[in-house]
């Protein structure tokens, strides 16, 4: 990394969003703009050919099948459905009161997960970064990402064991003179339980990206900060955090966009009819209603609905991020 010593501090400078060609200026100008861009950057564009082909064939082509959200699909029949039914399936779920309940639950669980599971890996990475002994640091880190390798069945099993009537948590409560709580059966505990197990499983693994980002920070910046008399806190605040900001913002935007995608399998394993009021999310409701097997069309309509929300969310998050911190996905 010694070559980077001559560079300006990364992260602290984002190039102004100037464009090679002016946006407006008539069609002819645009055409010459493209021609110029192609002549100048054809090598770059050529690198994009294979990936674009990938997206076209393996992502966009199968997407045509989503037309069944508006057509009646019958398993074993035409892949594009049998007949147009318009917004029938969309109306079906919009008019279903249970759908809105599970929609709310999804927002709650997704929101809480984002609120806790996004910052914790950053904190953990910063803590790890402050460990001076390299062997210790490596050890802690290697151990902390082990839960990532456990299947959700196991994680759910461990959670249930911990919270059982005669499990360690209730033992501890007993020592404090508290009656045992049947956490698994109490709707008001479900979110805590879900987010807690999610943190446990993802926090360590989440640090990897930040640790990788930390390596790109120029050591000279710390040096300069120290010469300026900055203490460790100030160094973290003024050098470390700005250094990992692009990674942080990218992940934040991505997480905001995908926060509706609550872990289906985990909810399925942890919930029960008593906790449906808080635990039931869109995917589990759709699964339980057997819609998957009975009506692909209905499932596709809900899928499109979720996709639109996701797209709106990520676009807004991206705009907001560009305006406030100047980092954005596009």
């Amino acid at each position: 990394m010694s070559t980077s010593t001559t560079s300006a501090p990364p992260g602290t400078q984002d190039p102004p969003p100037a464009r090679a060609a002016p946006r407006r200026g008539g069609r002819a100008a645009a055409r010459t703009g493209w021609r110029r861009a192609l002549r100048r950057d054809w090598q770059l564009y050529s690198l994009a050919i294979l990936p674009l082909l990938f997206f076209l064939v393996f992502r966009y082509l199968p997407m045509i099948g989503n037309v069944i959200a508006f057509r009646r699909f019958e398993p074993g029949g035409s892949m594009f459905g049998e007949e147009w039914v318009g917004l029938r399936y969309v109306q079906m779920f919009l008019n279903d009161p249970t759908f809105w309940q599970v929609f709310r639950n999804t927002l709650w669980i997704g929101g809480l997960t984002l609120l806790f599971c996004f910052p914790i890996p950053i904190v953990l990475a910063l803590l790890l970064n402050e460990v001076r002994r390299r062997s210790l640091k490596r050890f802690v880190q290697s151990v902390s990402y082990l839960p990532h390798f456990l299947s959700i069945v196991i994680v759910a099993g461990i959670t249930m064991q911990m919270l059982a009537g005669d499990g360690p948590v209730n033992h501890a409560l007993g020592l404090l003179g508290h009656e045992p709580i049947r956490f698994i059966q109490e709707p008001e505990w479900f979110r805590t339980l879900y987010v807690g197990s999610e943190i446990w499983q993802t926090a360590g693994w989440g640090t990897i990206l930040y640790l990788a980002a930390l390596t790109t920070i120029d050591e000279d910046l710390y040096e300069a900060a120290r010469i300026d008399g900055a203490n460790r806190w100030q160094q973290i605040w003024h050098v470390t955090l700005p250094g990992i900001r692009p990674t942080m913002m990218t992940l934040l935007i991505l997480n905001v966009g995908t926060f509706m995608a609550v872990g289906f399998e985990k909810v399925l394993l942890l919930y029960n009819p008593l906790t449906y009021p808080t635990a039931d999310v869109i995917s589990t409701y759709v699964y339980r209603s057997g819609v998957e097997s009975n009506s692909f069309s209905y499932a596709a309509a809900i899928g499109l609905f979720e996709a639109i929300i996701g797209l709106v969310l990520i676009t807004s998050a991206n705009q907001l991020s560009r305006r406030t911190v100047g980092t954005s996905l596009w």
Binding site: R19, A48, S144
Partner: protein, 290 residues
């Protein structure tokens, strides 16, 4: 060097406690699983196994190891992981590099094309028909090609590339390096940490994945080990139509899940230290200088 302030020393102490806690909380279940995988069925069912194996027993390992299908499927897993990761790395790197050029005309559209696919996906059946009609079924390409770019990884990598000092590339171009040359000789060597991370992310996800193979492979000898073990767990613990009954199977039912975790997680865990090497370089440099 500035002497660490008092508050910083307190912080170091607290940090030590917090990290120790993290280690305990994350390590315990794993050690427990390791212990269970070597324990006797009676002790497992009675809930006696905590940190050390009780009633040492290797039956489940023996049964799994004796099955030639297990080894063949394990081989498949290695092959699929290596090929798929290689394909994914090439495509993702190319595209991420293109996207990282802020002045590139049409960049917004190119990013949009990728981001759109994070939310809008094709259904199961269209995908199956596509893979079948491309003639990819029963080959490694059925696994590697449809999953070649993870948009998440793509955008993370792009963020890293953007963060590289622009002057270096400008200098390289002035020196007459082509775009390809810049990518290969300048950008990639500077991005070892993120490349290592991406290799880790891709390989772990391909290693653990089972659904593509399950869907696109028609023969048991083409399945990866994840499908094999998934099926074994189901058979030993799910009951199924025809029950088990022998002492052996009862033992298998008791700890096949633990054995599975040990067998699938351990090899990929061994990859990690190599990846980790690239994480500390910057900090290490600082430590030496400091």
């Amino acid at each position: 060097m500035v002497k660490p302030s008092r508050s910083y020393r307190v912080f170091q102490g607290v940090n030590g406690v917090v990290l120790t806690l993290v280690v305990l909380v994350t390590l315990y279940p794993f050690v427990n699983i390791l212990a269970r995988s070597f324990s006797g069925e009676r002790q497992i069912r009675a809930g006696e196994v905590t940190l050390l194996p009780k009633g040492f027993n290797l039956t489940t390992y023996e049964i799994v190891f004796q099955d030639s299908m297990f080894w063949r499927n394990y081989g498949n897993t290695v092959l699929y992981t290596v090929v798929a990761t290689a394909v994914a790395m090439v495509l993702t790197t190319c595209y991420a590099y293109v996207l990282s050029k802020k002045n590139l005309k049409g960049r917004g559209v190119l990013v949009g094309i990728a981001v759109f696919t994070m939310f809008f996906t094709g259904g199961l059946i269209p995908n199956y028909i596509l893979v079948t009609s491309l003639g990819l079924k029963n080959s490694v390409w059925a696994i590697a090609l449809p999953n070649a770019i993870s948009v998440f990884n793509l955008l993370v990598m792009k963020a890293f590339f953007e963060n590289l000092p622009a002057e270096l590339e400008e200098a390289a171009q002035i020196d007459g390096l082509s775009t390809y040359g810049t990518l290969l000789r300048i950008v990639l060597p500077l991005s070892k940490a993120v490349m290592a991370t991406m290799v880790l992310f891709y390989s772990v996800s391909f290693w653990n994945s089972w659904f593509s193979a399950f869907l696109y492979m028609d023969r048991t000898d083409l399945m990866p080990v994840t499908v094999y073990l998934r099926n074994l767990i189901q058979g030993a613990t799910g009951g199924g139509n025809a029950g088990a009954g022998t002492e052996q199977l009862s033992q298998v039912g008791a700890n096949i899940q633990s054995v599975t975790i040990v067998l699938t997680a351990l090899p990929i865990l061994c990859v990690y230290p190599f990846v980790q090497r690239y994480f500390v370089s910057g900090v290490m440099l600082g430590a030496v200088k400091g």
